[in-house]
Symmetry: C2
Subunit: 425 residues, 2 copies
Amino acid sequence: MALIVQKYGGSSVADATSIKRVAKRVTEAKKAGHDVVVVVSAMGDTTDELIDLAQQVTPLPPQREMDILLTAGERISMSLLAMAIHNLGVEAKSFTGQQAGVITDEVYGKARIIDVTPSRIRDTIARGEVAIVAGFQGVNPTTNDVTTLGRGGSDTTAVALAASLKADVCEIYTDVDGVFTADPRIVPSARKLDRISYDEMLEMAASGAKILMLRCVEYARRYEVPVHVRSSFSTHTGTLVTNEPDPSKDTTMEQPIIAGVAHDRSEAKITVVGVPDVPGKAARIFEVVAGAGVNIDMIVQNVSAAATGLTDISFTLPATDGATATQALTAHQPDIGFQSLQYDDAIGKLSLIGAGMKSHPGVSARLFAALSEAGINIEMISTSEIRISVVTRADSLDDAVRAVHTAFELDSEQDEAVVYGGTGR
Amino acid sequence: MALIVQKYGGSSVADATSIKRVAKRVTEAKKAGHDVVVVVSAMGDTTDELIDLAQQVTPLPPQREMDILLTAGERISMSLLAMAIHNLGVEAKSFTGQQAGVITDEVYGKARIIDVTPSRIRDTIARGEVAIVAGFQGVNPTTNDVTTLGRGGSDTTAVALAASLKADVCEIYTDVDGVFTADPRIVPSARKLDRISYDEMLEMAASGAKILMLRCVEYARRYEVPVHVRSSFSTHTGTLVTNEPDPSKDTTMEQPIIAGVAHDRSEAKITVVGVPDVPGKAARIFEVVAGAGVNIDMIVQNVSAAATGLTDISFTLPATDGATATQALTAHQPDIGFQSLQYDDAIGKLSLIGAGMKSHPGVSARLFAALSEAGINIEMISTSEIRISVVTRADSLDDAVRAVHTAFELDSEQDEAVVYGGTGR
């Protein structure tokens, strides 16, 4: 008998029929002898509809009231799911984030969880009932007001609850079968991964893979919560995010070098042209951008042209922050002293991720060769210990992903042993 | 400067435009120097839509979960209203029933308020802000779960808050101009009352006038909260429910004898035919009906036919309880020993209400004469100190209401002095 936390997203509870299907799934786990805690998002498009209502009332809603509004969504889905489970003969009770003990800071709209004290959830489990918990929400303990956790918040709720309850596994139900070596819509031969490490999953999430949000993976890694990403539309095993070795694999074999290829179309590039190449100017640029609340991803500084004493600095950022960043820089043009700004949102980012990179030289060389053979130009490069990212033109990103996926023998036509076994690369 | 509690129903906050209109009204009261607390219902048809969703999931939703579901409605309207007020430059904060200190018993679906501890509302007022409170909901302090107050619950929330805050007035905004001498849809010449006593309003509510729910009036009477029933679509003065005399009227003049004529089409009549006329049989009938959770209104026992030793007993009850009551009686037919049941839902009830009846004999005689002249048959009669009710055929109810309204000189063509002054009747 295990303690399982299951999380269902908005598309899994979009209407009464879907809610009944989820209820069936929950009761099956319960009847198999497990204790079950369910975290649920708002139904389908509820959150977007509530945001739209707020926009009709005011262009600038106070964030405290926005959080009160949005948390109505999970109230609806959680109570309906409890009813549907009850209808199948299993007792179920629903709880708000506050009732489930999800304590956050006071940053409305993107609160961070600071503690989880799920005594009511423990009591509910102890009575043999299923506990349903509203995802995406918590309570600011100073004011006893509701807070929301921001994008991907329900996944974070599930992992945080699983950590606090010391659950055996946190199952994240979604509309795909698990984590793939690449986005199957771009690479039809992409393979589902059986396992992936926290570090790799973290880099995948940070590099544009949308299956799990960064914060949720960070939480899972910190508390070592095994996360099982799987489909709510099938009973197939999905992908287990864990640092534990796979007991079904021969441990004397090497782990795979590459976990997957992620891509991201949501970034833009700003080039600051003609920056005086003197100490402190680059720092000033990034101070201004950070001061505007914008996070920067990759940075490239061109070699200074000796004749002019000027250099160009390029950086990438979320395209949604493009206007904010350019306005902030333009306002500081006199004191930074640059000549002009170039804004480019037709870029794409490809990231190759794999814990095996650490011990396998030559991965970068193989990546660049693959892109070169495919005729794809690299505009920027950045690396971490287990990731290499390159910026390309947006319209060559799909070709780049396919070329790299093939070059690293990730396509499912390949013998799995090639991927999982060591090949001396 | 006064402390005003304003309550807006679902039709007053049905969409973004309506919410903005309410916000304007609230800020006008605030800018006139008053402290304002607003109680709000769910938007338009939200509650019905949520009930429909629950029905799609299960025919028998657990009531705790039903309350969690339904209270999502006020969460949406209260936060949107706070946003709309904020947008007009006045600070506003919204609060759930729990946050506003509305403590109830644990009867989910029709909880009763047992205490109101509105410290957060007092703090909000003290900061010069408008407090918005979710109507219809409270908290069960034993479990910290949300409860709903049942039909008309938002009015009760408003009056209970007004009592606890010692507000100067509780304004109930609705879609009509106030309390009328009869339903203007039936009696076009019905007049709006400037004032009505708690006792009269209570009898009006109990007799089918839908403008205020019974529980709300009971609460207002017990705590002597002045209630101002008025339209959210105009700025006209409405009807003040109070026991205070009208300072603008000559207090040496008599109060009006009749406040109004109420009608009710929601009842049905059950006749238990052939009951043995022996002690205890009638009591047994009403035990069975009460045991099924059904409230009885009027009762008539026919004179026993000496030859058979059998009698008939008729009573009225809410038509929605008709099936429950007949099933309960049929199940007990052997031990009660009646011959058959007759069920009749084509009845109507007319009630004449007025505190002046106490000191004016002849009101009944005039009522019966008016109905007789109009050719309307009376099937049952019941009276209280300030009310006379009669049951007629449903299809003659409208004619009955018009005839009685005219007979007591309530029509607006009459000189008001006739109604408000004593006429020696």
